[in-house]
Amino acid sequence: MPNEPKYFGESLPYLKPFEKKGKLIAIEGTDGCGRSTQVALLKNWLEVRGYAVVETGWARSNLMHKSIELAKSGNTMDRMTFTLLYATDFADRFENLIIPALRSGHIVLSDRYVFTAIARDVVRDADSAWIRNLFSFALVPDVTLYMKIDIETLIPRAIEGGGMNYWEAGMDMHMGQDLFDSFVNYQSALITEYNKLSKEFNFNSVDATKSVDEIQKDIREIVKPVLAEKPKVKK
């Protein structure tokens, strides 16, 4: 069954079985690796080729937007609360956007996916079994593009691209004397974690140290075969 949805664990018990006509493409990579730029380019390319695309991104649900902002502005410092805020945001987008879009044959481009939550939490010493259970209802993407970058290349990009912020530097973890040290230590830990996840979940790595155009070319090469398995028309 090519269109049988595949989940990390058990699917939501109340979710009606459905035929997954669309494709789920996740793009992962640490802060400032150029993910959003690539998502925009890929979306455009797919649409030109006639595919209907739905884009979704981390913390973008209408439901949780306000609470997440409130938390980020300093009204909580607890890791578990943060994780659950993001999980609620994800579940909302998953049930109300991702599933319906896949059901109707769209290509879903997910700027960050559950791996982001796992990486961030494991860096913060979370129980890895707990976090995996939390997201066990999520669909396994058809392809997970991983924009692999090293810390040396990331630093100048972060500075040129709007600067380092409090959360991207993991300042809640007190990993350095100043913003810069903290950024380097935190992002290095995240990259290490992403690399581990890449092996465990068979990510398709893309060398994100290349130029924007070259990266996009590589991404398209990976995406093409996924599109080729077109769902058969059922009578």
């Binding site: 058990e10 609470s67 909580t76 578990m80 805020l85 609620t88 579940a91």
Partner: protein, 242 residues
């Protein structure tokens, strides 16, 4: 992580009450609080679904009926986590007595009735600490429903489980929903070793039993209030960033 496997090692004590709406649990915890304070203990009280962080979001989402069983469950877990780390564990570390009106068991009952997996929701809350005593106020469903239906002019949409589409009539839906929740509670009494109290007894008789159990648990515990004897209402002062 197994759910509520071991006791918390904090110097404080945690007592919680559970039961369906109308079982009288809030009255009982209120009386317990008055008594403990009169005995000179430092008491901290917290209730389900009251964290500032998600209050607004939950209220709005419920009003507009935007929630799925999973987001409903996760929002309440977020509320719980926020209160656990700000209102439950810090006072326990400070050696206070914490009283909670509803605990994770409420989620185990309600969320499962709404359709989430029992195992998933139990694992979700596995970061919680095990209460020293969990009182469950047991009452026949008819009496509990009558109490609520006769005392309240309006039953809220989610209180009646209207999101489940059980019955078009709010009051009928309420009865079915509460009945199912009660079934879940009944199963949990053994699973989590809840202390069942017969909620059909007179209020003061129930309170006697509650106080007796609490006294027993407080043997050897002696932390009393400071000489200032002020009542702690907020453990953490919130701050705003403008």
């Amino acid at each position: 992580m197994k759910v509520f496997e071991k006791k918390h090692g904090y110097p404080g004590k945690l007592f919680i009450v559970e039961g369906v709406d109308g079982s009288g649990k809030s009255t009982q915890i209120d009386l317990l609080k008055k008594w403990l304070e009169s005995e000179g203990y430092s008491v901290f009280y917290t209730e389900w679904n009251s964290s500032e962080l998600v209050k607004e979001t939950t209220r709005e989402a419920k009003k507009k009926n935007l929630l799925t069983p999973t987001t409903f469950s996760l929002l309440h877990a977020t509320d719980f986590a926020d209160r656990l780390y700000y209102q439950i564990i810090p006072p326990l570390k400070a050696g206070m007595i914490v009283l909670a009106d509803r605990y994770a068991y409420t989620a185990f009952a309600r969320d499962v009735v709404r359709g989430v997996s029992p195992k998933w929701v139990r694992d979700l809350y596995s970061f919680a600490v095990k209460p020293d005593i969990s009182f469950y106020f047991d009452m026949p469903i008819q009496i509990a429903c009558e109490r609520i239906l006769s005392n309240r002019a309006e039953i809220k949409f989610h209180e009646a489980g209207m999101d489940l589409g059980l019955h078009p009539d709010v009051r009928e839906s309420f009865k079915i929903f509460q009945g199912r929740i009660m079934d879940q509670y009944k199963k949990m009494v053994e699973e989590f070793d809840l202390t069942a109290i017969d909620a059909t007894h007179e209020i003061h008789d129930q309170q006697d039993v509650v106080r007796e159990k609490v006294s027993e648990c407080l043997k050897g515990y002696s932390t009393k209030r400071t000489i200032y004897a002020k009542r702690a209402k907020v453990f953490w002062r919130k701050f705003t960033v403008s």
